[in-house]
């Protein structure tokens, strides 16, 4: 059964677009047919994060206004089978599309794709209302900071008021060393405060910056902790019961091996 999932956060800059790109690519790698919609009209960025900015001809506004056919606006990602992007318009604003039009667009796309992922703009105004209009489910992204968590809580309330109950939570940019020192809220703290279901936790990782620089999603790279964390989120979306990665031993096997050698020497 097809599903429309909106990725939202309230606060800007917590990693919605990166999350959308990586979950989209991850679901495609797991064999699903996926389309990503950039709902951030006027401030589009999903195209650059995906590395598809040079291939845009038409956008989502052209589609809803009937200036082109849906097929013409969809960009096929050549690196992943069955991954498509419907870019936002850059020279228009949030009022160029209505919630009704989004609902119609989503239900049309659902017939052909397994997953429709919507990258929601920051804020709680028109852009947010458009982005959530056609969604069946919501994923809320936050970071372990008071401002992001407060906004996430507000968004969770607004989602519930719009019949999008029980959203899933992604805690992004966790810095293990700071959590250990007691200077950053842990994943458990964030879940405790927001009281929603956790679907994934992403460590703060230089590799994500590099992957965004290159316009290449990190999700397939299992050797990178954040890449693995995104793969796990995708599997959980598909209903698999995947244990959470222990972020507290970020170097994993190698560091454990080193510790063993040290132990052996002493």
């Amino acid at each position: 059964m097809s599903e429309v999932i909106v990725i939202t956060s309230g606060k800007g800059g917590v990693g919605k677009t990166t999350t959308t790109a990586n979950i989209g690519a991850g679901l495609a790698l797991l064999g699903k047919k996926v389309v990503l919609i950039d709902a951030d009209i006027g401030l589009r960025n999903l195209d650059v994060v995906m590395g598809l900015e040079n291939r845009i001809v038409y956008n989502v506004i052209d589609v809803v206004e009937g200036s082109c056919r849906l097929k013409q606006a969809l960009i096929k990602d050549k690196r992943f089978d069955n991954l498509y992007l419907l870019p936002a318009a850059q020279t228009r604003d949030k009022s160029a599309i209505t919630p009704q039009q989004m609902r119609k667009l989503c239900s049309g796309l659902k017939e052909e794709y397994d997953y429709v992922l919507i990258d929601c703009p920051a804020g709680i105004e028109q852009g947010f209302k458009n982005a959530i209009a056609g969604a069946d489910k919501a994923i809320v992204v936050t970071t372990p900071e008071v401002s992001a968590i407060r906004d996430a809580d507000r968004i969770i309330g607004l989602l519930e008021a719009n019949e999008l109950r029980n959203p899933s939570l992604i805690v992004n940019r966790i810095r293990t060393q700071m959590v250990k020192r007691g200077d950053m809220l842990s994943i458990d703290d964030v879940v405790d405060v927001l009281a929603v279901h956790l679907i994934g936790a992403i460590p703060d990782d230089e590799q994500i910056v590099i992957s965004t620089n290159n316009g290449d999603p990190i999700v397939g790279t299992q050797s990178v902790l954040s890449g693995k964390a995104f793969t796990n989120i995708c599997k959980r979306i598909l209903g698999e019961d995947v244990p959470f990665i222990d972020l507290h031993s970020p170097k994993g096997f190698i560091s454990r091996l080193k510790n063993m050698i040290k132990f052996g020497n002493s």
Binding site: V146, R154, V179, M184, L185, D189, V193
Partner: protein, 89 residues
């Protein structure tokens, strides 16, 4: 490992967040609390002699009777000065 209840910045953040969220969720500003306080004083002084300056009203957490989750609760601490102010007339 941080010692339990040590005043780490994380614990400060969590406490502040919990309070802010209670107010956000209840959609209840300090001004509204002040209005509730004034009204409560009005009602109770009809029946009892209370210490108005000692009256404290706040929103906090309470154990729910129906689930394991904590629920927001309105706390009012109202010191009574004289119980015998029964206005029978």
């Amino acid at each position: 490992m941080p010692i339990l209840n040590r005043r780490t910045s994380k614990n400060v953040a969590k406490e502040r967040l919990k309070l802010v969220l209670i107010h956000d969720r209840a959609n209840c500003s300090p001004e509204i609390l002040e209005m509730i306080k004034t009204d409560i004083i009005k009602v109770i002084t009809k029946y009892m002699d209370i210490d108005e300056s000692g009256l404290d009203i706040s929103i906090g957490n309470a154990e729910s009777d129906y689930s394991d989750n904590k629920v927001p609760a309105l706390y009012a601490n109202i010191p009574i000065r004289n119980l015998n102010k029964t206005k029978s007339s």
